[in-house]
Symmetry: C2
Subunit: 437 residues, 2 copies
């Protein structure tokens, strides 16, 4: 190996290593996460981080007596840009004005720590490049799974592996609702109202229930774990609104339960990815996640499978993720600007055409010959039935029953589903859920 | 806030940021972990790490054709010390000569990555200080829980929290044996032989069964998570050899199972720590860990509880942990020597005097008045009985039965245990296990 002139061996005079001053930190957004971030920063005694500015709209009504007197409260982001702040913490969420704030901070050479899922899901690759081009850092460990340190673990604990798959329960609202259906077989609408009453779901819960939130998080995990740049809009999401309490009865017959699973798998040059309700074994890690917890599983070529479980949301756990990122950036900055190699990203084709066994739930007006008709349609599409389940005790005018299929691709199943849904006895479109083993 | 002359804002000309050459890496020990580490290094395409030396005793018989021709195979560690290697990977294990190798590497300003549990458990604080004094780094992410990225997550993902507790299933051999007793109620000796036949336990399994391995790992976790310097010898460990299949029957009556749990908790200036078989709820994360997996739970003031699950041993997962550490060190070195603040360590008093409910299992020759005698002894020591369990069907000449106690300290229980074991009807000393809820 040739030695280039820039190479140095690490013989260091320890006295020559200078102790850096604390990093100056501006906090943008003093809300659910911003407040505990400020609290942790003010309570720390290690002097690595120094909170200098707090930005918020109508900042006067936000002021708190426990914030030290030398912290500047401001409504003027430009003042922060022009200041000697090293790190900007963006916690206002959404795209406007967060995107502009983050871009201008990076362009001014200030590192950024953000918990903004939508911003990173849509513009992560671009912003990472902007950070790299300006010799600063962008960290977003709090943008997925709140306090569960998945992204930091990917960054430093699994960086030695070559990951090919990632799957998770990433939306606490869906998990709360589904585990309530599971435990008490209450109607979907009642579980949703309960989640709203407890503050786990918003008045308009579409973003949670229909998978928008989870697919944004999945695209961030695909970026961090699989180095794949994928837009959330390219990831199919299926709603959990179609799940009925009876599906938990049938799932239980199969040794399973139902969870909203977000999963991505790199295979050759294709990223298989989707978000939606899925059958998982009741005894599996996914099946056991209760309430609003988050679980993420990673699969690596060398290290095999790893699981991370914890509180996926909440101000305090998310604040821990933000401050941990801050410390990581501060440690890097203490060494001055450096040539952190930019992440090599691929832009694979995105497909939802997973090959899995399937759970099909029909809701029919009972009459002779239904199974025969459905079996004929499935057979015509080369789909193999694994089991037919019909629990007793239902009204014959609105009868739920289940067929499970041997593994086939989503694209093979789809035409059969369309044909089955046009049958006169079908009261609702057939519900199809992948069965993950 | 005053601005000191050393402060710079982060306006960086990206062209001025120079791309560093790859780090030169020497691998010490080409065995179970060393081989897959070399494999991963040779398969990587990012050119951040360059394997230059492989050290082993009798190196000639180790040579592999898949190692590039420019790698130097050597039996001379001094040659590596004198070379321009930046990072030394120590994978020979044990204390001699590993300790001397690691010290001399650090003194020569070379950073060290090690998987050596005994070395870090005994000399970690000292070696960290040596690394800091020489402007280089020491990482040991592979020394606990193999491929489970607990230590990296503590370093970068939970650094923003203030942790007060850590608990884990850290020894795969014990977990394999206990989960075999649980699933098939086979005798302890049979489960041990099976573990040995499968390569999960060594011929002399004392280090695993009696807790020596787990307490070394617990002392490393206490160092990394709780910033407490504690010698493994100061942590009490109880053997799992006293556990009988019948204990799983009684544990099940209490909704529990039995696992070897390592736990440490900082309370005021005391570190409560111990390793040993414990009752845990069957439905808890600990209760569900099967086979030779590892699970670590952390508890933080801000972020609450977090769980990490994965393969705790094995060459490939451990190699991922080693290479991940290597990349972390290489990224740091690419910035040149720097003032990483040394970890502020405390040396708390160590105590095993946890306050918990207890499971007491007696093995007696049945005769009238046993319960009355035991109850009298317990009462005399101010200990409150919670339940008395006696399953039918046992030989009256060797009858196992169980008393559970309401929470009390280990030190309160101990004198009562001694007194009870001297009773004429006691065939064996009473087994006492903490019940963790």
């Amino acid at each position: 190996m040739r030695k280039t002139p820039t190479e140095k061996t690490q013989h260091v005079n320890p006295d020559a290593v200078e102790r850096s001053p604390p990093c100056r930190v501006a906090l943008i957004g003093f809300g659910t996460v911003g407040r505990p971030v400020a609290k942790i920063l003010c309570e720390r005694t290690d002097r690595l981080l120094h909170l200098t500015h707090i930005y918020n709209r109508n900042v006067a009504r936000k002021k708190q007596s426990w914030i030290p007197g030398d912290v500047i409260w401001t409504e003027d982001f430009d003042a922060i840009l022009k200041s000697d702040v090293n790190i900007v913490i963006e916690l206002i969420g959404g795209l406007v004005p967060a995107e502009e704030f983050v871009r201008s901070a990076l362009q001014a050479g200030k590192s950024v720590v953000t918990a903004n899922k939508q911003l990173i899901a849509r513009h992560g690759p671009d912003l990472l490049q902007l950070a790299s081009a300006n010799g600063c850092q962008l960290e977003f460990g709090a943008s997925v799974a709140g306090g569960v340190p998945v992204l930091p673990a990917l960054r430093t604990g699994l960086s030695g592996d070559r990951l090919h798959g990632i799957a998770g329960i990433l939306n606490g609202t869906c998990n709360y609702i589904l585990s309530r259906l599971e435990s008490d077989r209450i109607p979907f609408s009642e579980a949703l109202e309960e989640a709203q009453a407890r503050g786990y779901a918003e008045a308009d819960a579409s973003e949670d229930l229909d998978g928008g939130d989870a697919r944004a998080k999945l695209s961030i995990l695909a970026l961090a774990a699989l180095h794949a740049s994928v837009s959330p809009a390219d990831i199919r999401s299926r709603t959990i609104r179609t799940i009925d309490a009876v599906d938990f009865d049938y799932a239980a017959e199969l040794g399973c339960t139902i969870r909203q699973i977000s999963r991505a798998k790199l295979k050759e040059k294709t990223l298989f990815a989707e978000v939606g309700p899925s059958l998982v074994p009741a005894a599996s890690p996914f099946g056991r996640v209760q309430r609003n917890l988050n679980l993420v599983l990673t699969s690596g070529d060398y290290g095999g499978d790893m699981a991370f479980l914890g509180a996926g949301a909440g101000g305090d756990p998310t604040a821990v993720a933000v401050v941990s990122d801050l410390m990581f950036v501060a440690e890097s900055l203490s060494a001055g600007p450096r040539s952190r190699p930019p992440m090599q990203l691929a832009s694979p084709k995105v497909s939802c055409d997973f090959e899995t066994p399937w759970y099909l739930r029909f809701w029919v007006k009972d009459q002779p010959g239904i199974i025969a008709s459905l079996a004929a349609i499935l057979s015509a599409h080369q789909l193999n039935i694994d089991a037919v389940l019909q629990k007793p005790g239902f009204d014959k005018n609105a009868l739920p029953f289940v067929i499970t299929l041997e593994p086939c691709r989503d694209s093979q199943l789809h035409p059969a589903l369309e044909q089955m849904s046009t049958q006169a006895f079908a009261l609702r479109p057939c519900l199809s859920l992948p069965i993950l083993r």
